[in-house]
Symmetry: C2
Subunit: 168 residues, 2 copies
Amino acid sequence: MVQTGPNPSSGENLLFLTDEQLRKGIEAMFFAYRGFTADPDRILEEYGYGRAHHRALHFINRSHATTVNNLLATLGVTKQSLNRVLRGLIADGLVEARVGRTDRRERNLFLTDTGQELERQLAEAQRVRMRAAYRAAGPQAVAGFRQVLEAMMDDDIRNTYQSLRDGR
Amino acid sequence: MVQTGPNPSSGENLLFLTDEQLRKGIEAMFFAYRGFTADPDRILEEYGYGRAHHRALHFINRSHATTVNNLLATLGVTKQSLNRVLRGLIADGLVEARVGRTDRRERNLFLTDTGQELERQLAEAQRVRMRAAYRAAGPQAVAGFRQVLEAMMDDDIRNTYQSLRDGR
DNA sequence: AATGTTACGTCAGCCTTGTTGACATTCCAA
DNA sequence: TTGGAATGTCAACAAGGCTGACGTAACATT
């Protein structure tokens, strides 16, 4: 145990750092993530896709003409794992892989019109829930939400996130 | 698109509800959840367990003498999936399943001393990161963080969460 | 020009963790 | 006594991670 009772430190009240408070945050993360993925999951199932496909579509859409290596770093999976997913999306005509201009070893990834359509459908489903949550909690809560999440990321991932956040 | 520009509504600034802001929250959730699970995952690997084992240990620890059905509802998986995990934990002497007193069909689940030890190790690893994130973001941000997460949950899960949160 | 490195794809095999379906057992309750 | 609930278990399957190995093309360096 690290904080089992009221603990004034540097003249501040650190009650929010008790193990109890941390536990609530941990359980909230677990349950909230289920909600976070629930709506896209339902849509994906209709198309015979999984979460991995959603993630690929999302980040290809976010970073037009991104390379495979780039996507690997963002998603944090192996190339074999990503390749399985990409192969399906390319075969189904949702993603296009064009040979790189400057470096012909690279593949620049794009969403086709069909791909963009599915991505938009998934994103909108997820946004509906987020929008409701944001609205219910209010702007100040949203700011705190984002701050804590950002502080929770691994350092290298936070860099990736911030680049994306700030519009590349 | 639902919010593409400044949108005063009811005399309030709802800038935080733009698709851009929602997207940042969505990506933050994705990346933060990776960090959230990273530390326990490393420990679990040493013992040959996975995330499913962590979740079982956590909620058995939280709700002493809980039943299997109860745990199923909390975890949101099938009994077959949970049973596989429980079987392993029981075989390894981390969990004990005692026949229910009032209803002998039920199994009351407990952590053994060994089970408690691993649970504590996993929880502490996760708390270290949460504590750092909470500290970095501050008490007001933490309150907002929890508010948004709670609003993001499915209704039935939110009830489960709130019961646990308020100490059963 | 030769050699090394990088980017990517692919095959094979393995693991965890989720699913469905079917069936047996036990035991409470009507 | 009988129906249904709670539990366990077997089998089969799928998604999506992983490692290791190998091949090819293209770029980079010497």
